[in-house]
Amino acid sequence: MPPRFSNAPRSTDRAPIVLSGAGCGCGMLLALVALLMLAMLTAVGGDLSPVKPDSTRPDITIVVQEAFFQQMIARLLSGDAARDVTVKTQPGGVIIAQGLVRLSLFGQQTSTPFSLAMRLSAQNGQMKVELTDIKVGDNPAMSAAAQAMLGGLGDQASQAINDQVMAGLGRDAYIMDVTTDGPRLVIRARWTGQSPGHP
């Protein structure tokens, strides 16, 4: 029995479709390569103009507020050796710490006011800390004793601060200057190391 519905004759030639698909792929590839070439062409030949080294310009400027010293001292004096310590900066890189120090005299515990002044400066690329004045109570003898006891503190403080600064900036750091600006201590430093990647 012949089929009820006969299929209409259909073309079996799928080659144009396959070829157009292949052409589409080739076209995408060509366009992608062309775009990449264009991007590379606009990028090739670029150069960086050399940066003129300026030895007067600091690489890093560290600004320390009086409040930071307060925080630092509060952390250092977490024991009960001193209390009510305040820190003030003064012109010329001078820092003054004042407060009450706890002393034991003849078996009696007493709190005595103290004042400690130090000057921070830069010498040969390093930070230098000098203890310029120490006062304990109203008694000059006690102040003299404290001065004798703490005489080496400046060198230790210099070393500690330098270690911290060098750890922060690297061994090639060069401290240019230390100044005070109102209630702020300003440290300017330069990095003297040669960058291998810098043109």
């Binding site: 052409g23 090739v44 630092m72």
Partner: protein, 180 residues
């Protein structure tokens, strides 16, 4: 080959080229760069701030860039701080076709005491390739952030400070800390 086949091939070729150009254009238009981070204010409570000059940033970039994934060796780099918590950068690559310049823009932010650096835009010559860069180096942001925060941690470990914020201006990247 019959005319139909030639025509099919030609139409396919043109369609492919057009499609590729359209997709590339769309990708570049939509992914040309992240929006600029709004300029941050000096965070309240900051008691110590460090202003880093852009020249120093450039030298650090040139040194560190050698460790980052790149198809060709990095031979130079420079950064230019810009207002709005961002900086532009130029990096020179030593490609087989010659020295190639890649430019771009990074943004800075602070989250939970960590510095967050994001590569917002990358251009190869004049062509923005930010989406391509993220395909070729998907973890670049993470690597840069890990390295930057490791250096920051090493350099501030003894000072007992916490990073509060970051700002930029025409010349400096400013980091704000407080004592712990």
């Amino acid at each position: 080959m019959s005319t139909d086949r030639w025509l099919g091939l030609l139409i396919g070729l043109l369609a492919g080229m057009f499609l590729c150009c359209a997709v590339t254009g769309l990708t570049l238009a939509l992914g040309g760069g992240s929006p600029v981070v709004p300029s941050a204010q000096i965070p309240p409570g900051a008691t110590l701030d460090v202003a880093v000059d852009e020249a120093y940033l450039g030298r650090t970039l040139a040194q560190n860039a050698r460790g980052y994934p790149s198809p060709w060796p990095v031979v130079g780099g420079r950064m230019d701080a810009r207002p709005g918590n961002q900086a532009t950068f130029d990096v020179l690559l030593d490609s087989p076709a010659g020295r190639m310049k890649v430019t771009g823009r990074v943004s800075f932010a602070v989250a939970r005491g960590k510095l967050v650096i994001h590569i917002a835009e990358v251009k190869l010559g004049a062509i923005p390739v930010t989406p391509l860069a993220s395909v070729f180096a998907p973890n670049l942001d993470a690597q840069i952030n890990a390295k930057a925060n490791q250096q920051l941690q090493e350099r501030t470990a003894g000072a007992g400070v916490t990073l509060l914020g970051v700002t930029t201006d025409e010349q400096f990247l400013r980091l704000y800390f407080t004592g712990q």
